[in-house]
Symmetry: C2
């Protein structure tokens, strides 16, 4: 097993709608660290949403009666609640100010992943990318065009979890790799089949990247170098448990 | 932000009850990579349980009537079910063969974290350490005695999650660091308070370490070097959400 390096990529400019993120990332990575074949390029959701124009001015939103009602219960801005409902399949849990929903992608998280931090002037919020797997694929092909390097790309966001305090960074989009390392049928050194057969390595890579990204989004990209990720055309959507098999949804 | 290196530590011998893990880890780390002040030493649960004698011969277990009943429902060995119940506060969910419990520590995971892989001859299973935070503290002080290096130690296991497929490595024990990086009250570059205020960095470190450990437990230890972890006397127990505030337990 070789060492793995988690390399922060700083120095990206403020991202604007229509920007080609691949170009900005390749530019910021420069000669050093550069981007090499086999790297995993991990990109935070925020700059993807900015590039894709998924930024909404709250003043442009008209809340429905349902949003107005839920806004009182959750002590949130009714326009924000309107956006949360619009981005969600359904509310999974609501208690006090906590509003956990299932997004259109199937992700279960607070407030449908809508975030008011690091977006810009007050009253702007960022929605999750409409199709974060497609976002990852576009970044990946853009990097390959510019550098020739075949890489994997993961788009991340920080979500809360059931049962455990604190947020962790997870994969909401992926391209160029399988999200799982699959050990089904493999045996341990004693000849017994492994209990844990499937590791969500895309989420583990997202978590690893967060350690160099910090929280102020000044380091929105990290490169994980030296990890032999499972090759194939996978998506982060595969990480979403089928609601029918989910005992907690 | 500096680079972070995730370094596998291979070459530990088969661990036996009573072994001083700190000595084995320091020996295996050798001169290169060695152990340096500020490293996070990440140790898989399995070798901790072995060193602490938390290995049980199934033949030594007499199942209760409740275990016998639940064994039929879950198609598990009744002696294993007896151990699961003994190690648990309560069953959180059960459907078909899936048995998710809350362990005595408060962790929510399948089968109370009891595992039959990589333990040795058939009929042996490993229980989680009784107090994994204490296990981490013992390893930490043992490393400091032998090397003089002040490090953080995390004991890990791979758990499933709600809503998302696949397992990820998480912290079940910690010493020498706080499990959270806390951003409460900090503002982003635009002056807005951050939505995500608390990151469970102990879990993110555990996840990062898994990427070099592989699944066959031949690399039971990893060093995370270059991460400025939050200093303080924290525990992994702090990661457990108070059941009263947990909407999914």
């Amino acid at each position: 097993m070789p060492e793995i390096h988690i390399i922060p990529v700083a120095g990206l400019p403020e991202v604007r709608e229509g920007d080609a993120l691949a170009a900005l990332i390749v530019e910021a990575a420069g000669q050093e660290p550069g981007i090499e074949p086999g790297d995993v390029v991990v990109v935070t959701q925020k700059i993807v949403s900015k590039a894709e124009g998924r930024i909404v001015l709250l003043d442009s939103v008209t809340p429905s009666a349902e949003a107005e009602r839920l806004a009182v219960e959750t002590e949130k801005d009714p326009r924000l609640v309107e956006l949360i409902l619009h981005e969600s399949n359904r509310i999974v849990r609501q208690r006090g100010p906590v509003l956990i929903t299932e997004t259109k992608h199937g992700f279960v998280c607070a407030n449908a992943g809508i975030d008011a931090s690091n977006v810009g002037p007050e009253g702007l919020v960022s929605l999750l990318p409409e199709d974060p797997d497609a976002s990852a694929a576009v970044i990946r092909s853009g990097i390959q065009e510019r550098t020739g390097a075949d890489v994997a790309v993961i788009v991340t966001d920080t979500f809360g979890r059931a049962w455990r305090e604190g947020h962790t960074n997870v994969a909401i989009g992926a391209a160029g790799m399988l999200p799982f390392a699959d050990y089904v049928g493999q045996t341990d050194p004693h000849g017994y089949e492994l209990r844990v057969s499937t590791l969500a390595v895309a989420d583990e890579l997202a978590a690893a990247a967060e350690l160099v990204q910090g929280k102020l989004d000044r380091v929105p990209v990290a490169i994980v170098r030296g990890y032999a990720y499972p090759h194939g055309e996978g998506t982060a959507r595969q990480l979403v448990r089928d609601p029918e098999n989910d005992l907690f949804r």
